[in-house]
């Protein structure tokens, strides 16, 4: 199954707000550590190595100016 790049969130605004709220009260260092744990949890949910590779590629390519 290829990486889903079309809209797939059941509640885009709600989930985004939850992501930001989850960082409330964290220092920058704690936020980085939180993000790292979150990525690992979500990576496990995806599971498939090829889909993960595709996601890494998108993140890398869109970040480059």
């Amino acid at each position: 199954m290829p990486l889903i790049t079309t809209p797939n969130l059941s509640d885009p605004d709600g989930s985004y707000a939850a992501l930001i709220a989850a960082h409330d009260g964290l220092t920058e260092t704690e936020s980085h550590a939180f993000n790292a744990r979150l990525i690992l949890v979500l990576m496990n949910q995806i599971g498939d190595a090829q889909v993960i590779a595709q996601a890494l590629r998108i993140a890398r390519e869109t970040g480059v100016k």
Binding site: H32, A33, A36, R37, I39, L40, V41, N44
Partner: protein, 538 residues
């Protein structure tokens, strides 16, 4: 001219004292095989070839086994190979069997793991045994083989000082306490270790990656009630290192390993008082112990571009070097021996052309790359190389305590398992529906069979039939191969490992107990074709 052949290290066992050979007084004599180096790989190589009737001469610049525990973890595949070589009995008697590992972060146990949850194997996943004992038992097996007529000769305090490689032989100049002499070899096997003088003399490169870290080994003898398990700490609370390892050896000795970092004063760190301070912090102040052996090592992951250079073949650390995480050093060298022995014997007796030896290069380079990949990944996890790498490493450790998925990412060493030679030129046909783990190129997994264990029944080429019509012997290309017919009825291990959902299977097994080809029914032409392919005759 006298040459004293400097002794670079102390011996644990003096096994083959220098004795003058008639070769030293004669014109250069030609030997079919010369092995340089009397470490575990050189000794196993000599034993393997000698038991096949191949005359083999071992040249070692020392007179026995070096002191110091060094390699301590010997994996199941190594034990299976040593069983074939007739050396495993005392290893199992002396060695410490362990199956459980525990991983800690700071002062918390993250999880425990079992190395071999699968039944139906003659040997455990690992034993711990100090390297000198491993080598001594190989030498004991050589003595027994010699007594039974195996043409093995070991010359101690014989140091190779020069080598000339020709198209049809290799010439060596050898220093001894009685001066130098020349000896020639049809085939030379370099088992002379990570710093291989032969590799340097031949001007061959050994490229790879250096890891900027130092590890301190402190082997201590103590009466302690730690269980026989492998304990690994990331960022241990006792602060004796960035990581630490505790592992049991025979004779009440424990291997303790501390990660010290890159910028250290090596000499100061080796001071016994300094080492004791680290060990005390780990064990607590009231545990009495004795320091048995200490060493600081750095490591590299690298290999030669090719392991075969004409008539010179490299095996073990001379060909490839890995970090110790995963116990992939000596264990992979023993697999080199397993792969090379039957091929060289087949070339020497004319059964196979010498290009069969190119498959040694291809298969063991594949094995080395797998080991380097695994050991590099473990090292990068244990010693993160950037702030973000450390961030993710610690995120994995934080999750591992409560989230089972994260435990699969924790990497304190992926412990040595044999390489599957997928894609090897020697592999013949596969059959759809048979289990993936026994596909062509795979090492045969053991299984209980009537009267003992499957692997003990696999010697030389074997045609293994499971619930399929199998000839008692199969003849092709001037060779006779025994057939072995077994039933998987009432044998769940054999069924799941070799049959799967199929009703019957035929396996052509190589002398190193790797699968050459397999079918669901016997077909003489197909087996003959696979045999020719496996001997590089087509």
């Amino acid at each position: 001219m006298k040459d004293n052949v400097e002794q670079r290290y102390d011996l644990a066992f003096r096994l083959y004292p220098y004795a003058k050979s008639p070769d030293q007084e004669a014109a250069p004599r030609r030997h079919p095989v010369v092995v340089v180096g009397g470490g575990p790989i050189g000794l196993a190589m000599a034993l393997d070839l000698g038991q096949r009737g191949v005359p083999v001469l071992v040249l070692d610049d020392h007179e026995g086994v070096g002191a110091g525990s060094r390699a301590i973890c010997f994996a199941k595949r190594t034990l299976e190979i040593c069983d074939r070589l007739g050396a495993v009995g005392p290893m199992m008697d002396k060695g410490v069997v362990w199956n459980t590992g525990k991983v800690f972060h700071d002062d918390r146990l993250l999880y425990a793991f079992d190395l071999l949850p699968e039944d139906g194997h003659a040997f455990p996943a690992f034993i711990n045994l100090q390297q000198p004992w491993f080598e001594k038992y190989l030498h004991d097996a050589i003595l027994a083989a010699q007594a039974a007529g195996a043409p093995i000769e070991i010359r101690g305090r014989n140091r190779v000082d020069a080598v000339e490689a020709w198209d049809d032989h290799v010439a060596l100049r050898v220093a001894t306490p009685d001066g130098s002499y020349e000896v020639q070899a049809d085939w030379l096997i370099a088992c002379d270790g990570a710093r291989s003088p032969l590799r340097s003399m031949l001007g061959l490169t050994f490229d790879g990656r250096v890891f900027e870290d130092n590890f301190l080994i402190a082997d201590v003898r103590m009466q302690a009630d730690f269980p026989t398990e492998r304990w690994f700490w990331f960022e241990p609370h006792f602060k004796s290192g960035d990581s630490a390892l505790l592992h049991k050896q025979p004779d009440g000795v424990w291997r303790i390993d501390f990660q010290l970092g890159w910028n250290i004063d090596r000499k100061a760190e080796l001071e016994p008082s300094r080492i004791r301070a680290r060990v005390d912090a780990m064990l607590g102040p009231d545990v009495p112990y004795e320091l048995v052996w200490t060493s600081i090592y750095t490591f590299q992951c690298r290999r030669m571009e090719r392991f075969r250079h004409g008539r010179v073949i490299f095996a073990g650390d001379s060909a490839h070097q890995v970090s110790p995480f995963g116990a992939r050093g000596a264990n992979s060298g023993i697999q080199d021996v397993d792969n090379l022995g039957w091929k060289l014997a087949a070339v020497l007796d004319g059964t196979a052309p010498d290009r069969l030896l190119d498959s040694y290069n291809a298969e063991r380079v594949q094995g080395a790359d797998e080991n380097i990949l695994n050991s590099t990944r473990a090292t990068d996890f244990i010693t993160p190389k950037s702030p973000v790498s450390r961030l993710f490493r610690n995120a994995v450790l934080a999750l591992a305590e409560t989230q089972p998925f994260a435990r699969t990412i924790v990497n304190s060493g992926r412990l040595s398992v044999p390489c599957i030679y997928d894609g090897s030129a020697l592999n013949g046909p596969d059959a759809i529906g048979l289990p993936a783990r026994t596909r062509p190129g795979s090492p045969c997994p053991d299984a209980p069979v009537p009267g003992g264990w499957l692997l003990r029944r696999l010697s030389g080429f074997v045609l293994l039939g499971i619930d399929a019509e199998t000839p008692d012997r199969f003849e092709a290309h001037g060779m006779t191969i025994p057939g072995l017919c077994l039933s998987a009825r009432d044998n769940a291990a054999l069924r799941s490992r070799y049959l799967g959902e199929a009703s019957g299977a035929i396996y052509l097994i190589r002398p190193d107990q790797h699968v050459a080809a397999r079918w669901t029914a016997f077909d003489a032409d197909a087996v003959a074709g696979a045999l020719a392919r496996c001997l590089a005759r087509e």
